[in-house]
Amino acid sequence: DAGITQSPRHKVTETGTPVTLRCHQTENHRYMYWYRQDPGHGLRLIHYSYGVKDTDKGEVSDGYSVSRSKTEDFLLTLESATSSQTSVYFCAISVRQGNTEAFFGQGTRLTVV
């Protein structure tokens, strides 16, 4: 898993509550990504980061925010969870610039009830 740890692995939360998912890497890679996986949609990019405090939106960023205050941690926050955000969330890293090969974490299954 290229030294990627996602936490929590499973979470059930209520509609309207804030939720933060954490991605931790041990190898100081510059590029980190958050994807969501849904049946019929594959993997869709939510946000990504190309360095500490440098982040950008992906294709499905509405309702999500991210922060990266340290190289090793990339946090994904759902400000006010909705049922449409029930999904499996994956963190990924790219090991070097110019090489878009991505290594994925184990995923976090989030259920919003």
Partner: protein, 112 residues
């Protein structure tokens, strides 16, 4: 456009047969085409990748065929085995953007 379209959504193949999954893209700026394999409860893992300067790449039983003029690429799994049963994703990327666009996924089942 950034879309990558993958087909079929699901595929059942007999052991020993050939599994074929297809993808099509629109953005001619894409210059990196990987395939990922995902087992239940796990994250996707890179299986094989190709760049558009070659038409085919083979690694063991897995082959990518690439047709630049048609903007299509496909994954062929020869002598398919039950252990190949997984979900497969194609993707496309370009170095300037440092990110990937994924297809919708194909659930492959190999019957023994």
């Amino acid at each position: 456009q950034q879309q990558v379209k993958q087909s079929p959504q699901s595929l059942i193949v007999q052991k020993g047969g050939i599994s074929i999954i297809n993808c099509a893209y629109e953005n001619t700026a894409f210059d990196y085409f990987p395939w990922y394999q995902q087992f239940p409860g796990k994250g996707p893992a890179l299986l094989i990748a190709i760049r558009p300067d070659v038409s085919e790449k083979k690694e063991g039983r897995f082959t990518i065929s690439f047709n630049k003029s048609a903007k299509q690429f496909s994954l062929h799994i020869m002598d398919s085995q039950p252990g190949d049963s997984a979900t497969y994703f194609c993707a496309a990327g370009f170095q300037g953007a440092q990110k990937l666009v994924f297809g919708q996924g194909t659930r492959l089942t190999i019957n023994p």
